[in-house]
Symmetry: C2
Subunit: 136 residues, 2 copies
Amino acid sequence: MTLVLKKTDEAFGMTVSNEKGLSIQMDASPDLGGKDSGMRPMEVLASSLAGCISVDVILILRKQRIELTHYNVIIDTKRAEGVPAPFESIHLTFEFSKEVDPDKAERAVKLAKEKYCSVSASLHPDITITHEIRFI
Amino acid sequence: MTLVLKKTDEAFGMTVSNEKGLSIQMDASPDLGGKDSGMRPMEVLASSLAGCISVDVILILRKQRIELTHYNVIIDTKRAEGVPAPFESIHLTFEFSKEVDPDKAERAVKLAKEKYCSVSASLHPDITITHEIRFI
């Protein structure tokens, strides 16, 4: 995997692109002089975790022929104080459509989080990752 | 920090938005049925590391009144084989404009990576993060 980050303005605006030309924008906090041209790097990190787990959740349920008409994840994080300020905990609230069997949903989330997701496996083991599931 | 991930198509397309409405797109690999509507979660994770270090590098150099007319970072990663496949190593190649003093550039990158960056501090300590600097 090769990616290229380019600084895009005179402050902290940045774009990262992959080999296919897909990209994300990032920026620093306005406190530091950022201009809100993109999410902050720690938000992007938390997003990658929820995205990775979601790919595996969708895949596991699809193998059981369960399609998700509604699927959201709310991501709440807690960071250490000081510099650096790594994540102490990340809480993920999964929202499934109410047709999905609760046991199958719980099993898919647990397997994705603990067994399959490469982002989980790349995070510091001191970060506590918890979850809950809602049916809507 | 609260973020919301929403599934955006019938396969693996996803958007994550923050409280300001800034967002990133992610998708699974086409091998799994993804449609290349966004970067893959592991690419997003690597991007967050380069973005975080870059914010601190720019900030450190700005305090020394060094503005960066050219600033790119090339991100190369190596992943473990198997499932999950976390990063084993991430190599960052920093490109600065050739007006920048090499010692100041090296010091800024080292400080950002090892002391200030909250994404670095959130990654698994087994991931080796290396770097080089080029002046263009």
